[in-house]
Amino acid sequence: MNPVANPPVATPFFFYGLAAIMIIGGVLVITRKNAVHSALALISTLLAQAGLYLMLYAPFVAGVQIILYAGGIMVLFLFVIMLINIDRSMKERQFNKQWLIGIVAAAMLGGLFISVYTKGKSLFPDGRLTFVESGNTQGIAGLLYDPHTGMYMFAFEIASLLLLVAIIGAVVMAKKRI
């Protein structure tokens, strides 16, 4: 089944643009001294990532990415960052100069990238979870809950249980007297 009804508009152009925004944003996140600037760079990275999801014909994931990460979690990040003293954090050392571990980690990540780039096609099955764009949300719901095709229900419920435990843990730790 060909999921693409209309041919995509200038796909490589948008991909390189979004990827550039993500990389620049990611670099800015770790190089800016001011934590608020880092958070804003992270938001632009997350929004560009939502754009990449759109290009992969996953509009539902893109919408959830915007509503949860950019609109929800990052606002809480900013909320916390604004409460701490920026002036003191500006004077702190930004990098802890662990060159050896850094180089090893970077080399491993680079090796991973190169191996995926060279034999990426054989690693992934061809377009298994693609839905027509007009039925994307319904398709995801079918994969999660449908009695016949719902193969991810258990994983989904386990993940939500994990989140519930984390929420209860956060409340218990934050409150002195329950």
Binding site: N6, N34, V36, H37, L40, I43, P59, F60, A62, G63, V64, I66, I67, A70, G71, G72, M74, V75, L76, L78, F79, M82, L83, E133, S134, G135, N136, T137, Q138
Partner: protein
């Protein structure tokens, strides 16, 4: 040349939105039309809010600039553009510059999916309502960064308040929206939808606006959304982020001139955006009232005359007030201007009676009329309710609206399951 004309004409018979049909020309036309319409609506709201609030408080409101202050918004806009643009010395320049842009972008982008009619939307997305909620939730980023970048106490307090408030009310709002999405799955096909046009079509298929579906459930969900949307847009009685008596002007205290007018523009277009979500989800979007009770060709004709009659009514008000203008020679230009405005409105009204125009604008008219009712409610709230205290606001959000919306969600799901068996049982008993 011929190809271009053909490309433009190829869309005209289509029953899809320009975005879904992939016609770039009409997409552009619709984007410009929505943007212009929105700007005019914001200008009109500016004038109407001052006039209506004034009349509620037994004042006259703006009367000097133009007849009955009709040109006041234009004068205000000119003043704002000419005003000195001040930036606090210790402010963070880049973030200070970015913040109003984020708010305006978020407020205008959501109109991409607002369905003014079955084909009158810029585009129709499979994730329409999710897109609207997601993008409008980005505006809180602009407010928070505006408050922080000003490097001043009042804006900071306003920003903290607004982020806490908007995140809290987003939860109840989202759950109320989910209950509507559950209702869309109860049509013949049994598949729900997040698309804005799909939601209205589901109401059409089920023959009921969702505000009346599973009576009181739809109404309660609608009420929760109506409260949460006022809090989301930082309007009275939930205008704590910009509470004048406590925080001067809240997060936009340090903004002036053009940047401030961007915040103003964003606030009003966000109000229109959330009202159009409420209209689409609960009040049947572009559908005209009483489609089941008053049906048939005669009633269709009567309801299709409404847009023209409304404009003629506005024109009549203009002429009535032209006759009441003071007869002093100094008021001559104003009287002529008001009469001219009346003539323009009357001509628009007459144009709306032409059958092909009438058929195309009917749905847009009903959508805008419903949104306008919400806009009036916003002004009415502002004239009526005193401001909430912040702890009361949090209490209402988390301890009242959230549990009720959860209950509505669960009860809607149960009602959806038992509806068909119950009707079957009822038909057997009776």
């Amino acid at each position: 040349m011929g190809e271009i004309v053909q490309y433009i004409q190829s869309y005209l018979g289509s029953d899809k939105t320009p975005g879904a049909a992939g016609n770039l020309f009409w997409e552009f036309v619709y984007i410009v039309a929505v943007f212009l319409g929105l700007s005019v609506a914001v200008i009109a709201m500016n004038w109407l809010e001052r006039k209506i609030l004034a009349h509620m408080q037994v004042r006259l409101g703006p009367m000097r600039v133009g007849p009955h202050g009709l040109l006041q918004p234009i004068a205000d806009a000119l003043k704002l553009l000419l005003k000195e643009d001040i930036m606090p010395a210790e402010a963070d320049p880049f973030v200070f510059w970015m913040a109003p842009l984020i708010v305006v972008l978020a407020a205008f982008t959501v109109f991409v999916v607002v369905p003014f009619g079955p084909t009158h939307a810029i585009t129709d997305m499979n994730i329409g309502i999710l897109f609207m909620l997601g993008v409008s939730s980005l505006s809180v980023l602009g407010i928070v960064t505006a408050g922080w970048a000003s490097n001043s106490h009042y804006p900071m307090m306003g920003a903290l308040r607004s982020s806490a408030q908007m995140i809290s009310y987003e939860v109840a709002m989202g759950l109320a929206v989910v209950s509507v999405i559950l209702m869309t799955s109860l049509n013949d096909t049994g598949i729900g939808t997040l698309s804005m046009i799909g939601i209205v079509r589901a109401q059409q298929a089920q023959g009921v606006w969702f505000v009346f579906k599973f009576f009181p459930l739809g109404l309660v969900g609608f009420f929760i959304f109506a409260v949460a949307m006022v809090a989301e847009t930082n309007r009275a009685p939930f205008d704590l982020p910009e509470a004048e008596s406590e925080l001067t002007a809240g997060f936009h205290t340090e903004y002036s001139g053009f940047r401030w007018s961007l915040f103003f523009l964003a606030e009003y277009s966000a109000m229109i955006a959330v009202s159009s979500i409420a209209v689409t989800l609960w009040l049947g979007g572009w559908l005209r009232p009483f489609p089941n009770l008053l049906n048939g060709p005669t009633w269709d004709l009567v309801f299709s005359l409404f847009p023209g009659v409304t404009f003629l009514f506005f024109a009549a008000i203009c002429f009535y007030n032209t006759a009441r203008m003071p007869k002093h020679p100094l008021f001559k230009i104003q009287t002529m201007g008001l009469a001219g405005f009346g003539v323009v409105l009357g001509l628009i009204g007459l144009a709306l009676f032409i059958p092909p125009v009438r058929d195309r604008v009917g749905d847009i008219f009903w959508f805008c009329a419903k949104v306008a009712a919400f806009m009036y409610l916003y002004i009415w709230y502002r004239g009526t309710f005193p401001r909430y205290r912040f702890d009361q606001l949090m209490k209402v959000g988390w301890k009242v609206l959230l549990p009720i919306s959860l209950a509505v969600l669960v009860l809607t799901a149960i009602a959806g399951f038992v509806e068909a068996p119950f009707k079957e049982w009822l038909s057997q008993v009776l």
